[in-house]
Assembly symmetry: C2
Homo-oligomer: 357 residues x 2
């Protein structure tokens, strides 16, 4: 087996979802929450790859202004790059590529979302090594998660034929948008669809060339930014870059258009994007009837998520509910309404309750 | 109509129920909570009778040691008598009678629980005046609440024949214990059963004479106490009195045994004992779908009680639940389990969580 190429972990930590309100807030979104372990999802993401696969000094975190401070406090040693505005993932990853290329255009970037979890770290590291090696050869590699249920909340990747002499590595036949329930069931049945986990492996120069091919605004902006790197005009160039950039995801903006050149590594690694309060039920301890964290007392209760970071919480006789308490806000909703939890901070914002956002 | 006799309002405020946890605590039981208005049930109880029916200086509140301070702060101007230990209502009322009799043995005592509510104050005051007048004549009068549903949580009073020339005043045929559901339905059907609201009107000397007839321990204790009133031995005599006293309710200890001499005034005054979180649903504003108090946001929710004295509380998609938050404790349970809420502080006590009791 060849030695691993030099790989930089590019961690996308700009997310600002509201589905974990009231635990998540504007300056403490999902990736900064310790939902499943004692450590935040971001710190777990870093810990999965360093130092085993990536040197601690080769971690680059891209995020927004509001999170730069909290993230710097959590991820000591990592380089933090601040986007002037959020413009979806294509500009975010191109910005990272520009930084990485300034030092080593042939370095591999392992692009990882900061707000996911996975159970089988050893299996993930094996996939990570193979994907990095493929990327070092000039390919773009992505990870496909073997589905175990017909999820409608994820995009899918349809596998094409296996790459010659590469067991477990397939051409990507297509990137597919989030399906409806019937279609998701069909994908599961078909067997050649994997979940798109949003992880991508490619050299910095390969990504930048793809940007030049497909996203002219971003291409122009990145050129300005690269020219200004290390000069007094760098910050201004970055602002200009993001003004010029197409606000588009890496999936739509690059991957779909590069599909014939992309490979997918299907993996069974206990992955989850921890999408909502309901997801946490899957992380119950052993055969516990509920997912419980914090100062919580539970009686005659099943299938509930009960979490407190503040007041003592006691529940009796509940079924299928999320009960979440913080020192200044409490939320109760059926888990089947987990997708609607974001309505609450929206309503509170309309009421001028900024202190709760 | 004759002028009203001098009446002392004797307010029994020693209760220590746990059904309103976490809002209620050991030093802030139900009668001290502002559940329905801006004022506590105790303060509302006083306000209903003073100064319209009773002089502000003729309010005597009997309670326990833990509540004497909080009650003194709420009920300025009232005389507060502290029971050495809780021994049910018969010793409590006899203690009040001894204090009242020391100034005026013929004064009427209007014995009122501190933790009830009623909507029609004008109607209540009319009943109060008639009951006080009957008591001044030497009778014991009680108020029967016209039932509007087959409640199993209250004792009942069966009406006998009307008192001669006294419209709306009846002999008591029997005091009846809390019935099961079938029996309660039969009482409602029969039409001559009223709820026992625990209000009693009688002269101090009449009550003390009844104690002498029926409760020999309490009788002896009260005699010691009356002899010691105003002397340095008063506190010690009170302790001794409560050691000697039978721990029994006024209903069982006196009223059932005096039944032929007691009259009942059936009243339709919108009364409730505010027995549990579920009861609060009856006090919804207008045709509101929920009972809501405090900093609360409610969406797609019906038949719920959502109360906060602390954190902001947001709920989505709930049916039939109680959600109650305070700065240090949160409780969620189906309203149909309201009777079981007291299990929570019991469990917390077993866990040594005294700060939450």
């Amino acid at each position: 087996m060849s030695t691993s190429p030099r790989t930089v972990a590019v961690i996308m930590a700009g997310g600002s979802g509201t589905r974990f309100w009231p635990l998540s807030r504007k300056t403490r979104p999902k990736q900064l929450l310790a939902l499943l372990t004692e450590r935040s999802l971001l710190v777990e993401t870093i810990a999965r790859v360093t130092p085993a696969a990536v040197a601690a000094s080769d971690v680059l975190i891209v995020t927004g202004k509001a999170l730069a401070g909290p993230i710097a406090a959590l991820a000591t040693g990592a380089e933090i790059v601040v986007e002037p505005v959020a413009r979806n993932t294509a500009p975010c990853i191109a910005l990272a590529a520009a930084r990485v290329a300034a030092r080593d255009p042939k370095a591999v970037m392992a692009v990882l979302p900061a707000d996911q979890t996975l159970e089988d770290v050893a299996a993930f590291r094996r996939v990570f090594a193979v994907a990095s090696a493929l990327a070092a050869e000039g390919r773009i590699a992505t990870v496909g998660i073997r589905p175990d249920h017909p999820e409608t909340g994820y995009g899918y990747i349809r596998r094409g034929p296996q790459i010659q002499d590469r067991a477990g590595v397939f051409e990507v036949a297509a990137f597919v948008e989030k399906p409806d329930a019937v279609t998701a069931a069909r994908y599961l049945e078909a067997g050649d669809y994997d979940w798109n986990a949003g992880m991508f492996f490619m050299r910095a120069d390969v990504l930048l060339a793809a940007v030049d091919r497909h996203l002219p605004g971003l291409s122009k902006g990145i050129a300005l930014y690269r020219a200004a790197l290390g000069t007094p005009g760098e910050a201004e160039a970055l602002d200009r870059c993001f003004e010029l950039a197409e606000a588009i995801s890496i999936d739509y903006g690059i991957m779909e258009r590069e599909t014939p050149n992309i490979v997918v590594l299907p993996a069974d690694i206990g992955w989850s994007d921890v999408g909502s309060w309901r997801t946490l039920l899957e992380f119950r301890d052993g055969d516990e009837p509920n997912f419980v964290r914090g100062d919580v007392l539970v009686r005659d209760t099943e299938g509930c998520v009960v979490v407190s970071s503040g007041p003592q919480v006691s529940v009796i006789g509940l079924r299928g509910l999320a009960v979440v308490a913080t020192p200044d806000a409490v939320m109760v909703a059926p888990l089947e309404r987990s997708q609607d939890v974001g309505q609450i901070p929206k309503a509170l914002e309309a009421l001028g309750r900024k202190e709760l956002l």
